[in-house]
C-alpha cells in the first residue's frame, strides 16, 4: 500500500516538474524569439536596399532616398573618438582598482560611482554633455563634445571588463614578479597586461557595440540630421546612423518604406556583429590555456 502511494506522488511530481520545465522554456523562448523576429523582419523589408552602393553613396531627394554614407562615416568617427577618450581612462582606472587600490572606503566609493554611472539615463548624459562639453568646455556642438559624452557613458563598460580580465591573471604571477624586485608597474606591463589584453579587447569591442547604437547622448551634443559636407575635424558636426534612423522614421515625410528598414538593418548589424565578435572572442579565449 505504502509503496504504491509513494509511486503515485512521484508520478504527480514528475508530471508537475515537466510542466514547469515547459512553462519556463516557453518563457525563455518568448523572450528570445523577438530578436529573431526583428532580424527577420528587418532583413525582409530592408535587406533589398542594403547594398555596397547604399553604404557608400550620399542621400538624395531631401534625404528621402539614396545612400547613408555620411551617417555611417559619422558613426564610425564618433565611436573612434569616444574610444580614444574612454579606453585610456577606463583601462587606467581598472589598473588602479585591480592592481594598486586596497579595500578602503575610497575604493568602495569608486565602485559605487561606477555602478551609478552605468545607471544614469542616457538623456541625463546628454544634458551633462550639453552643460559640460558643449557649453562649459566650449567644444560647441561637435564630434568632440558628442564623443566625450559617449565616452563618459560607456566608461563603466571599459572599466568593468578590464578589471575583470586583469583579475583573471593569477595572483601567484604577480607575487613571483614582485619577489624578483619588479616594481608594481613593471609587473603590470610585463606580466599582467600581456595576459589580460585579449580580455580588455573583448570589453572594447563590446563598448563599440554600445556606443554605435546610442542616440540620445549625441542628439544635442554633435550629431545632426543633415550636413552638406563630411566633417573635417573633431570640431565639426556630423551625421550619425542612429539619429538618422530616428529622424527618418519620425520626422521626414515621403520617405520610401524600405529606407528606414535599411538604416535599422545596418545599425543593428553593426551592433550585433560587434557583440557577437566580442562573445566569440571571449569563448575562444576561455579555450586557450596559458597556465
Amino acid at each position: 500500500m505504502h509503496h504504491f502511494a509513494t509511486t503515485g506522488i512521484n508520478q504527480r511530481n514528475s508530471r508537475t516538474q515537466e510542466l514547469f520545465r515547459l512553462l519556463f522554456m516557453m518563457m525563455t523562448v518568448l523572450l528570445v524569439l523577438p530578436v529573431l523576429i526583428i532580424m527577420v523582419t528587418l532583413i525582409y523589408k530592408g535587406g533589398a536596399i542594403v547594398t555596397l552602393d547604399f553604404l557608400l553613396s550620399n542621400p538624395l531627394d531631401g534625404m528621402t532616398a539614396g545612400g547613408i554614407f555620411p551617417a555611417l562615416f559619422g558613426t564610425i568617427g564618433l565611436v573612434t573618438v569616444a574610444l580614444l577618450v574612454s579606453v585610456p581612462i577606463g583601462v587606467a582606472a581598472a589598473i588602479y582598482l585591480s592592481e594598486y587600490a586596497s579595500d578602503t572606503w575610497l575604493t568602495r566609493l569608486i565602485n559605487l560611482a561606477i555602478i551609478n554611472l552605468a545607471g544614469v539615463p542616457s538623456i541625463v548624459h546628454a544634458l551633462f554633455g550639453v552643460g559640460a562639453f558643449v557649453i562649459f568646455f566650449r567644444f560647441g556642438t561637435s564630434i568632440l563634445a558628442a564623443s566625450c559624452t559617449l565616452a563618459v557613458m560607456t566608461l563603466p563598460v571599459v572599466i568593468v571588463a578590464t578589471r575583470e580580465s586583469l583579475q583573471s591573471v593569477p595572483m601567484a604571477f604577480r607575487e613571483a614578479c614582485w619577489n624578483m624586485g619588479a616594481t608594481r608597474w613593471q609587473t603590470i606591463r610585463r606580466i599582467v597586461l600581456p595576459n589580460a589584453i585579449s580580455g580588455i579587447l573583448t570589453g572594447v569591442i563590446l563598448e563599440v557595440s554600445r556606443t554605435a547604437g546610442e542616440t540620445a547622448p549625441i542628439m544635442f551634443t554633435g550629431a545632426v540630421f543633415f550636413t552638406p559636407f563630411l566633417p573635417q575635424s573633431v570640431f565639426d558636426q556630423t551625421m550619425a546612423l542612429s539619429l538618422h534612423l530616428f529622424v527618418l522614421s519620425t520626422q521626414v515625410p515621403g520617405v520610401s518604406e524600405a529606407l528606414p528598414y535599411g538604416v535599422a538593418l545596418v545599425l543593428i548589424s553593426i551592433v550585433l556583429l560587434m557583440n557577437s565578435a566580442s562573445i566569440g572572442f571571449r569563448m575562444y579565449l576561455r579555450g586557450q590555456k596559458k597556465w
Binding site: 614582485w178 619577489n179 624578483m180 624586485g181 619588479a182 613593471q186 610585463r190 600581456p194 596559458k290 597556465w291
Partner: protein, 275 residues
C-alpha cells in the same frame, strides 16, 4: 662596512659579461625581536636570529610555525600583503631594511623560491631573462649567456635547451620548480631563500638541486626553509627550529642532530615525535 648603497657602476670592461662586472656581496642578516601579525593573529613573535655571510641557514618546523612569514618580512613583501604587519627590526649588512629607499632594489638582491612552482606565462627564455631585463639589460648576446648559465645551474638546461620558446607555465611541476630557481639565480642574488622547494620536485631532482646549493653558497647566503629535517641536516650549517610562531632554538646543525639540544621540543621534533 660598505653598504650596497655605494654602488657605482664605473667598471667598463667591454669583454666582461653582466655577472662578471660586479662583485657578489653575500648578505649578513640580523633579526631583532621580530613580530608578525595578520590582523589579530600573531604568526611570529619575538624572533631573534643572525645569519652569517655564505652560510646555509636551515629553518625547520611544522606547518604554520611562521617560517614563510619570516621570509616575506625579509623581502619586505609585507607591504604588498594585505593585513600583514611587521614590528621589530631586520638588518641586512647592518642596514635596517625599513630604511631602504627602494624596496625593489632590496628584493632584486634576494632570490626567492616558493613551495609551489610558479612558471610565469612567458617563454622559458623570457622567464629567466626577466630579472636582467627588469634591471635594464637588453643585449641579446649577454641575455643568452645569462639564461644558459642560470638554466645550467638549475639543472634544467638539458631538458629545455631545444624549447626555450615554449611557455614556461606549461612545463611539468618539477621543471617549473627548477625554472623558478633559474629565475631566482638570474637576479644574481646576494641572498637566496628557498621555501620547501622540494615539495613539487622528484627525489632525483631534489638531490641535484641540493648539490647546486652547496656550490652556490660560495657566492651567496642561503636560507633554506624545509619540511624535511634530513635535508636540513645534509645542507645547513646552522639550523633554527620554529614552532607555533616562536623560534625555539638555533644551533649548529650537526650538534642538533647529535642530541646537543637545549629545548626538549627540538629533540622531540627531530626524532619525529610530532610534525
Amino acid at each position: 662596512m660598505v653598504v650596497a648603497d655605494s654602488n657605482v657602476r664605473t667598471l667598463s670592461d667591454p669583454e666582461s659579461t653582466w655577472h662578471q662586472r660586479f662583485h657578489s656581496s653575500p648578505m649578513k642578516i640580523e633579526v631583532n625581536d621580530l613580530t608578525i601579525r595578520y590582523g589579530d593573529t600573531t604568526i611570529l613573535s619575538g624572533v631573534n636570529l643572525n645569519i652569517r655571510k655564505n652560510e646555509i641557514f636551515g629553518i625547520i618546523g611544522p606547518a604554520n610555525s611562521g617560517k614563510t612569514s619570516l621570509l616575506k618580512a625579509l623581502n619586505r613583501m609585507d607591504e604588498f600583503t594585505p593585513g600583514m604587519k611587521v614590528t621589530g627590526d631586520i638588518r641586512v649588512n647592518g642596514l635596517d631594511i625599513r630604511h631602504v629607499k627602494n624596496v625593489y632594489g632590496l628584493r632584486r638582491s634576494i632570490g626567492v623560491v616558493f613551495p609551489l612552482p610558479v612558471g610565469l606565462p612567458l617563454t622559458v627564455f623570457e622567464n629567466v631573462a626577466l630579472a636582467p631585463r627588469l634591471g635594464g639589460m637588453n643585449n641579446r648576446a649577454e641575455l643568452n649567456i645569462i639564461v644558459e648559465r642560470c638554466l645550467r645551474r638549475a639543472a634544467l638546461w638539458d631538458e629545455v635547451k631545444d624549447r626555450l620558446n615554449s611557455l614556461g607555465s606549461l612545463l611539468s611541476g618539477g621543471q617549473q620548480q627548477r625554472l623558478t630557481i633559474a629565475r631566482a639565480l638570474s637576479q644574481e642574488p646576494d641572498l637566496l631563500m628557498l621555501d620547501e622547494f622540494s615539495i613539487a620536485v622528484d627525489p632525483v631532482t631534489t638531490m641535484r638541486i641540493e648539490d647546486i646549493l652547496k656550490e652556490l653558497r660560495k657566492e651567496m647566503t642561503i636560507i633554506l626553509v624545509t619540511n624535511l629535517v634530513q635535508q636540513a641536516r645534509r645542507l645547513a650549517d646552522r639550523t633554527a627550529f620554529f614552532l607555533n610562531g616562536e623560534c625555539v632554538e638555533i644551533g649548529v646543525t650537526e650538534c642538533l642532530f647529535t642530541g646537543q639540544v637545549q629545548d626538549q621540543r627540538t629533540q622531540d621534533y627531530l626524532s619525529g615525535r610530532f610534525g
